[in-house]
């Protein structure tokens, strides 16, 4: 296959012309890469991905030619300003194509990056090979209540759950055509479910159950601090629909949250912090540690183990893959998307060391992330474009805790990223297209 690719590698795949009209015919070569937005220079993309679109950062016109050479796409950009007699021919930049396949769809929630209330919320999906975006469910289905925390059973598009808040609300479980709602607060442990993690066996789901509040800073960089005053871990058995509190992960003196399973389901990773008084005043003192707990035969065994963390940082969203746990690292707190300093870090389970995944990070917040079903790609939310509206980035995982340069989810026109007044929340890979469940969910609320 690779041989065929190399033989045909020098073949011109496509010449794509953008803004052709008005381009000066004369071009001056320039030895530097073009200053483009988004920065696609040197990124690694999967074979099946929608065409990358970009524009010049300074707003000048550009057109490009694209040529494939083996596993590399070479983009040659010509740029000019209106009225220029000569255009600039920039040094061609590479985009690497990985042979590792990627899941064909991603799911995310579109929501305004607001404060306490909301209007339209949509859990949507996007086909990666095209720009096609479609609805899975929106909050019109539950009378404009909140819909959140969508999660899939190992990326299976036919098995998912999400919370639908409001009157008659609860957790909606979808199993192919069977759609049902369970109010977790009314069964077993009598706790509301918050952050879910579906066990690889498909039988269990653990949830953290969080009492969440927020306060607002006075002209700080970070406008909001979202914090928990209590949080525990609950386990749901989908065979019996029973829900139980996990005693060793529900200590009164600690806040346990963000559960995530290892690949084989034998370990639960989660975060835990000391419960302190008056969190709003002492929010700088809230530091979550990365923890793990053993899970055997449907129950947790032994005491949880502290893996990483100290009083200089806080850990959120642990996600295990290939001997590493990818997590979000902040100075403090439990809601990293509002923390400009939030970065993605890797924890090596074997050496027990943690380090920043430098190539994924920026000056702005990097937050929620998840692995593709084959563990070769990671998708994450970042606010690097403007500091407030989260956009989705995808990075290839090279192995040994290393990544290639991430790329922004391509849009038909880059401006879409500026003009869209919604954030992309909880990006997750899915193995196929999910049906539109709007009508089915609406029926639950009638």
């Amino acid at each position: 296959m690779r041989l065929i690719k190399h033989i045909t590698g020098i073949t011109l795949i496509a010449i794509l012309l953008h803004s052709c009209s008005g381009a000066p015919s004369e071009r001056i070569p320039n030895d530097s890469y073009p200053d483009i937005i988004p920065d696609y220079i040197g990124v690694t993309i999967p074979e099946k991905i929608a065409k990358l679109t970009f524009e010049m950062t300074d707003g000048s016109n550009c057109r490009y030619e694209m040529e494939r050479d083996g596993d590399t796409l070479w983009y040659t950009v010509t740029s000019w300003r209106k009225g220029d007699k000569m255009a600039t021919l920039h040094k061609p930049f590479p985009v690497y194509i990985s042979a590792d396949p990627i899941d064909p769809y991603i799911a995310y929630r579109l929501i305004e990056p607001g404060y306490e209330s909301w209007h339209n919320i949509v859990i949507a999906q996007r086909e990666l090979a095209s720009y096609k975006e479609s609805r899975i469910v929106s909050n019109r289905a539950n009378d404009m209540g909140c819909v959140n925390c969508h999660t899939f059973d190992s990326g299976n598009p036919q098995r998912m759950l999400f919370h639908a808040r409001g009157k008659g609300g609860g957790t909606v479980f979808i199993d192919e055509d069977q759609v049902r709602i369970i109010n977790l607060a009314q069964v077993g442990a009598q706790r509301q479910g918050t952050y879910p993690a579906w066990h690889p066996s498909g039988r269990y789901v653990v949830f953290s159950s969080n009492s969440t509040f927020q306060c607002f800073t006075v002209n700080e960089f970070q406008p909001i601090e979202v914090y928990d005053t209590a949080s525990d871990i609950i386990l749901m058995d989908l065979q019996t629909d029973s829900v139980m509190l996990v005693p060793q992960l529900s200590l009164e003196s600690r806040l346990e949250t963000f559960p995530a399973w290892s690949e084989d389901g034998s370990t639960l990773y989660f975060c835990s912090a000391e419960a302190i008084e008056n969190v709003a005043n002492n929010r700088g003192k809230v530091h979550y540690r990365l923890m793990s707990a053993r899970f055997e035969d449907g129950q947790f065994v032994g005491e949880p183990e502290e893996l990483f963390g100290d009083d200089s940082c806080s850990v959120s969203f642990p996600r295990y893959n290939d001997g590493y746990v990818l997590f979000t690292h902040t100075a403090f707190g439990t809601f990293p998307i509002w923390h400009g300093e939030a970065d993605l870090w890797m924890y090596d389970v074997e050496s027990k060391e943690a380090f920043p995944a430098e190539i994924l990070n920026s000056e702005k917040a990097e937050s929620y992330h998840s692995w593709s079903s084959n563990g070769k790609w990671v998708i994450f939310g970042s606010r690097r474009l403007d500091g407030r509206y989260t956009r989705v980035y995808i990075a290839h995982y090279k192995g040994n805790g290393e990544f290639d340069k991430p790329f922004l989810l391509p849009q038909k026109n880059f401006k879409h990223n500026t003009l869209r007044l919604k954030s992309y929340n909880i990006p997750e890979f899915i193995k196929g297209e999910v049906k539109d469940y709007e009508k089915a969910v609406s029926k639950l609320f009638k």
């Binding site: 339209n120 406008p223 400009g340």
Partner: protein
């Protein structure tokens, strides 16, 4: 020709009446409607609009209403649409025969009636959407009528003219005397004046007298007096009965969010102003309006977040109404570097919470924001709460060239040494008269003399049992 002329005369009359009534009684309502609209040439905007019922009328409404923000354009466009409804429906009824002969008798009157009812309904609604729905229906009917042959037009008889006149004048009268419409117009006028910082206009419209009927408007007057420096002199001339009437809490109401976004902006708490504008936006179909976008530009500029200024300006540049000003703004902020505090570092533990204005005002000081308006509001909160010991402590922190009247009243009530604080002889004299009257249990004199003072409020709260502390009636008291 004569018959057609009659139709056009009616149309012109209708246009003139609708425009004049709109200009006189709904001018500011239209401006606020314009601020609360959104029309953008973006994919998301059209996708969201077409996901609603009646997408075309929503689109048409948003397109036209965006221009209502320009003074007098709202009444003009409303008049135009009402007239168009009349003409289109009349065109239909002139060509399509009704199976009911009675309908034929009322030809032309029916078109006037339809346009008048649409006008009244739209005037009473939050948005003029209904006008656009009826316009589209009338347009559809007129298109259908294009394929029909014109009927013999009925003569414009005297009785018809009388009925038409009755409809038009009746509608005009209804709109001009409707209590709800007038009240909405005053609210809109005050909101707009607050947005523009026209404090005298706010105070002209929210007076102690008008506040008896509409106490919910008082917070605007108190904000305005913060700017004119009269808060400490005039607060209790308003019929304020509770601390809740001083501010507009209601985080989940349009009015509360509008007021609080502006209040926080004027006090210098820009993060909180942004918070309230996001909350405000949740009340509208697209989650943002022209007003919220322009305010986000204003607040982010004050915060030093020029990246966000550019983002919102780029979005507004997709709106026909704001396109050119947004482009100018983009040019102005091109390359401007953000000047924000560092991330991951808290410069203080200051934080605001939901619906706790006095707490939030203290937080401003903790965060180092020295807003005179915030400081005075804090003093007023202490007076309204009856926390006079704290009031004295807070009062001492600030420098005063002249002590406002109500503050003197509070200081005298708690029993400070008037000379030490430099309290005016007038206030001392009045206080002595009131205390003497109180000791003689001459309540009519107390009521008369204390009217419009802090004492009046304080005594009222004492009677209510809300305040424990109050005027010390002990004759051995140092007062």
């Amino acid at each position: 020709m004569m018959k057609n002329r009659g139709k056009y005369i009616i149309a012109a009359l209708l246009f003139a009446v609708v425009f004049c009534i709109g200009a006189l009684f709904q001018r500011y309502t239209a401006i606020i409607q314009g601020q609360n609209s959104l029309f953008l040439f973006t994919g998301d905007y059209f996708r969201e609009t077409f996901a609603t019922s009646w997408p075309l009328s929503h689109l048409l409404e948003s397109f036209f209403v965006q221009f209502y923000e320009i003074p007098m354009v709202g009444p003009l466009l409303t008049a135009l649409i009402v007239t168009l409804i009349f003409l289109l429906y009349n065109f239909f009824s002139q060509r399509i025969s009704s199976p009911f002969p009675i309908v034929e008798v009322f030809q032309i009157v029916d078109a006037v009636a339809l346009s008048c009812f649409s006008w009244i309904y739209a005037s009473m609604a939050e948005t003029p959407l209904i006008l656009f729905k009826i316009l589209l229906i009338s347009l559809g009917l007129a298109i259908v009528a294009l394929f029909a042959k014109k009927k013999e037009a009925a003569k414009l008889k005297i009785w018809k003219i009388a009925v038409i006149a009755l409809f038009v004048t009746g509608s005009a009268l209804f709109i001009s005397i409707s209590k709800d419409i007038r009240s909405d117009e005053t609210t809109a006028k005050v909101r707009y004046a607050t947005y523009k910082g026209d404090w005298n206009k706010v105070l002209d419209n929210v007076t102690p007298q008008s506040s008896i009927d509409r106490p919910e408007m008082m917070p605007y007057a108190f904000l305005a007096m913060g700017f004119t420096g009269e808060l400490g002199d005039r607060l209790f001339t308003y019929p304020i009965k509770n601390i809740e009437e001083f501010d507009m809490e209601g985080l989940h109401t349009v009015e509360g969010n509008y007021f609080n976004s502006l209040l926080n902006y004027y006090m210098g708490n820009h993060n909180e102003a942004i918070h309230h504008i996001f909350q405000y936006s949740c009340h509208f179909p697209h989650g943002m309006t022209h007003f919220s976008l322009s305010q986000l530009i204003r607040y982010n500029n004050s915060l030093g977040n020029y990246t966000m200024v550019r983002k919102y300006a780029q979005i507004l540049s997709r709106s026909p109404r704001y396109s050119s000003s947004a482009r100018k703004l983009l040019k102005r902020f091109e390359g401007a570097q953000d000047s924000l505090p560092p991330a991951g570092h808290l410069s203080s533990s200051a934080h605001t919470t939901t619906n706790n204005p006095p707490h939030d005002l203290i937080q401003l000081s903790l965060a180092g924001i020295n807003s005179r308006i915030a400081q005075e509001r804090f003093l007023c909160y202490l007076m309204l709460q009856g926390s006079l010991e704290y009031f004295v402590e807070a009062f001492k922190i600030f420098k005063w060239e002249r002590i406002p009247r109500h503050y003197e009243e509070a200081l005298l009530l708690i029993g400070v040494n008037p000379d030490e604080f430099g309290i005016s002889a007038g206030s001392q004299r009045l206080f002595n008269v009131i205390t003497s009257a109180m000791m003689q249990l001459d309540m009519p004199t107390v009521d008369r003399m204390a009217k419009g003072t802090y004492w009046e409020y304080h005594f009222y709260k004492q009677k209510e049992g809300a305040f424990e502390s109050g005027l010390d009636l002990d004759p051995d008291s140092k007062l």
